[in-house]
């Protein structure tokens, strides 16, 4: 749980009485030199009238990482990305990218950022090619024609048709190419794989990985857990407009935890495996489901005494993380 130590503001919102939070926060911005942050927000709050968009959000994205912004619909993911691009103005707090204030240096920032909106809308009469040309012209910078062609080929997109003839998935691809083609330093992708077929989804994830390997930074929002698990270095979990946890994906998922289902010849008595360091989470007349932290050696040695017929690994997923934070029944993992 190292990240929490680095992120005092991420922890703050968990405390309930909102009135007491801001006083404690020092107004001075002390840029953390040790950590090269690309995106940084401090007690960022957006109200839509009386309705809350996000509250006291402290986000920190490091250079060169893929940061997954995870949460159910309406949690405030899109609002946060819009504040970063100065599309929505914060009610309180502030946000910066590359150390520049998002509101004051919006143009300079956006020159280095590629954005895929969550609901990507297009001008219907244009062809995708004309659209890309227009983007390049407005951005006012030379871009790599060959790379653009590579992108359209990899995403399996035919860019010669008018956009209104495209399906939702194809429009999404157009938006992706437009965001990626300038090789921006920072990619803000709002649900990048939504509406795409599985093969193309894999391509998108591969492109994100390539961006990271080139040293670029990616902040993507999602409610698709396997996807976040597959490509993100860290995840921030947002709920009701508050960032409630920031975790390293590796530590969280691939690290210390195992979850096993064991089928026995003779069912061991309750509590026996727990002595060996496991936690029993479920049992039928043949099976026992256990969670183990650390080494499996002791547990398995004890288990074979009862004749193990079968062993199934049930790896932890972010869904379990979600359940841990949200409690059962409040998530919609695969929309």
């Amino acid at each position: 749980m190292t990240p929490e130590a680095e992120e005092p503001s991420a922890e703050a919102p968990i405390e309930e009485p909102a009135a007491e939070i801001p006083i404690a926060e020092p107004p001075a911005e002390a840029p953390d030199v040790a950590e090269d942050l690309v995106v940084e927000t401090e007690s960022l709050t957006v109200y839509y009238g009386r309705r809350r968009g996000i509250a006291q959000l402290g986000l920190a994205v490091r250079r060169g990482e893929v940061y997954g912004f995870l949460g159910p619909n309406g949690a405030g993911k899109t609002t946060t990305l819009r504040v970063l691009l100065d599309i929505v103005r914060p009610t309180l707090g502030h946000a910066s990218i590359f150390g520049l204030d998002c509101q004051r240096h919006g143009v300079a920032i956006r020159r280095r950022v590629g954005y895929l909106p969550g609901e990507f809308s297009v001008y219907p009469k244009l062809t995708a090619d004309a659209y890309f040309n227009m983007v390049a012209a407005i951005r006012g910078e030379p871009y790599d024609e060959a790379y653009r062609r590579t992108l359209t080929e990899r995403l399996n997109l035919d860019p010669t048709h008018p956009l209104h003839t495209y399906s939702r998935g194809n429009k999404q691809k157009v938006g992706l190419v437009a965001a990626l083609m300038g090789r921006p330093e920072l990619l803000l992708l709002d649900e990048p794989t939504a509406g795409l077929e599985p093969l193309v989804q894999q391509q998108v994830l591969a492109l994100v990985r390539e961006a990271r390997s080139e040293g670029r930074t990616v902040l993507l929002s999602s409610h698709n857990l396997p996807e976040v698990q597959a490509i993100c270095d860290r995840v921030g979990i947002i709920r009701d407009g508050r960032l409630i946890a920031v975790e390293e994906v590796d530590a969280l998922v691939r690290g210390q935890y195992h979850r096993l289902r064991l089928r026995f010849e003779h069912l061991p008595p309750a509590g026996l495996l727990e002595e060996a360091g496991a936690r029993e989470v479920g049992r039928t007349d043949q099976d026992v489901m256990i969670e183990v932290r650390g080494s499996l050696n002791q547990v398995l040695t004890r288990a074979v005494e009862y004749g193990v017929l079968d062993l199934e690994d049930h790896p932890f997923t972010l869904e379990d993380v979600f359940l841990a934070y949200y409690g059962a029944g409040t998530i919609e993992p695969y929309a």
């Binding site: 909102a18 009135a19 801001p22 006083i23 926060e25 107004p27 709050t45 957006v46 109200y47 839509y48 009238g49 009386r50 968009g53 819009r82 691009l85 100065d86 599309i87 929505v88 103005r89 914060p90 009610t91 309180l92 707090g93 502030h94 919006g106 143009v107 300079a108 956006r110 020159r111 950022v113 954005y115 909106p117 609901e119 990507f120 809308s121 297009v122 001008y123 009469k125 227009m134 983007v135 012209a137 407005i138 951005r139 006012g140 938006g175």
Partner: protein
């Protein structure tokens, strides 16, 4: 920004072609109608028909009068509607469609984004009006109706419609930047346009409403078309341009300050609970003081821009409501300035083109009208009943017979007349 402008224009090539052909055909068709108009229709005294006058019609007797009563009368309404369509399409529609979010994510400032869109829309408007003018002038040359005006005059009088279109373009840009949805922006802009157009025509008939006309862009526009007779209304052009630029300024203020993609009415815009705001202020967070001051200044500036024409009008042309004077019987003297006849001033002033001074002397009409003059119905010398008057006394004092007076006014019970009744005094029968 240039690429944005070019892109915005290219996107609207279809609009340009369609509207230009439409407006051009509209004007050309009316020229054709005029050449085919039978004499009876030309002789109709439009001013005697209140409904037609309220629609801004003046006379059918001459080509200029006919065009100003029909095609050129409606053109500022159509151009205004075009301005509204372009203005709403530039901001509000794109915000509702979701494309504005994406545009705003590009490295271009809000000011430049709006400036680019405004310039492009203004250019599109100009292209449409100019093309429509060329089509109309072409039709004029082909039909060559009998009139002192030239094809170039006709082109200019159509081109000047750009100004009124620009005003409503700017107004709808502002409303689109300020209001949350496309629907809200469209309906308010369209309402403003209709109020301006109809209000100007209707208020022109009621002298008491005269000062309020100065709030309506179409009031100034009407006076500009007076230049058809040679008087160029530079002051009115300047006023219209100022109204347009003022609205544009408000549009910039609204657009650069608000959150986009948030379909919220102004009172629903982001504002934290009071509790959080005070805490933020003590913690040195964003203070709303300078912002509030700036918005107050902008609002006052806008109000001043709106109020200035009213004040100017009152100074230049004090309205003296007098009983209706004799209408000029020569139609050519009046068509270009509806203000003069409906709100007569005691003397010609700087703002009102001199051609509009009510005169009784019929300047010789160049065309067919010379042989048709004067239809008795068109001479409303009137008399307002005073206390103690009787019909017979009135008739005697005005030098007409009692029967003629009764007939002219359709009086059913000659014994019952009321103080304040207005009677038309017919001309004495020709010898």
């Amino acid at each position: 920004m240039l690429s944005l402008i070019l892109w915005e224009i290219r996107r609207r090539v279809g609009t340009i072609v369609g509207w230009a052909i439409g407006l051009g055909a509209f004007c050309a068709a009316h020229q054709l109608i005029y050449t085919a108009l039978p004499d009876e229709v030309r002789r109709i005294d439009v001013r005697a028909l209140t409904l037609l006058e309220s629609l801004g019609m003046q006379t059918f007797a001459t080509f200029e009068g006919f065009m100003l009563s029909t095609a050129l009368n409606l053109l500022p309404l159509l151009t205004g509607a075009l301005g509204v369509a372009l203005g709403v399409g530039a901001l509000a529609a794109e915000e509702s469609d979701g494309t504005l979010e994406w545009l705003a994510s590009l490295p271009i400032s809000r000011t430049r984004l709006l400036l680019g869109k405004a310039i492009a829309a203004a250019f599109v408007l100009l292209a449409i009006v100019a093309l429509a003018g060329l089509i109309t002038a072409g039709a004029f040359l082909a039909l060559s109706p009998e009139t002192p005006v030239t094809a170039a005059d006709l082109f200019l009088v159509i081109l000047v419609n750009w100004l009124i279109g620009f005003v409503f373009l700017a107004i709808s840009l502002f409303l689109g930047a300020y209001l949350p949805t496309r629907g809200a922006a469209t309906s308010t802009s369209a309402t403003a346009l209709l109020v301006s157009f109809l209000g100007n025509n209707l208020a022109g008939m009621a002298p008491a409403m005269e000062p309020y006309r100065t709030l309506l862009p179409h009031f100034y526009f009407d006076r500009i078309t007076g230049m058809w007779t040679g008087e160029v209304g530079w002051l009115d052009m300047g006023t219209l341009a100022a109204i347009g630029l003022g609205a544009l300024l408000l549009a910039f203020s609204a657009f650069t300050r608000r959150s986009l993609t948030v379909a919220a009415w102004p009172w629903q815009r982001p504002r934290p609970p009071k509790r959080l705001r005070t805490i933020a202020a003590t913690a040195g967070g964003t203070s709303s003081g300078p912002r509030a001051l700036a918005s107050t200044i902008v609002a006052l500036l806008g109000l001043a821009l709106l109020a200035a024409p009213v004040a100017a009008y009152r100074e230049l042309a004090p309205v003296v409501p007098t009983p209706l004077p004799t209408l000029p019987s020569a139609p050519t003297a009046t068509p270009l300035s509806p203000t003069a006849t409906s709100a007569p001033t005691t003397e010609p002033t700087a703002v009102i083109p001199p051609t509009s001074t009510p005169t009784v002397t019929p300047s010789p009409p160049p065309t067919a009208t010379a042989t048709i003059t004067p239809a008795p119905t068109a001479t409303p010398v009137t008399y307002t009943v005073q206390p103690g008057d009787t019909l017979a006394e009135i008739a005697q004092a005005q030098g007409v017979t009692l029967e003629a007076l009764i007939e002219a006014n359709n009086i059913e019970e000659p014994s019952r007349i009321e103080v304040g009744d207005v009677f038309i005094i017919p001309l004495p029968p020709a010898e």
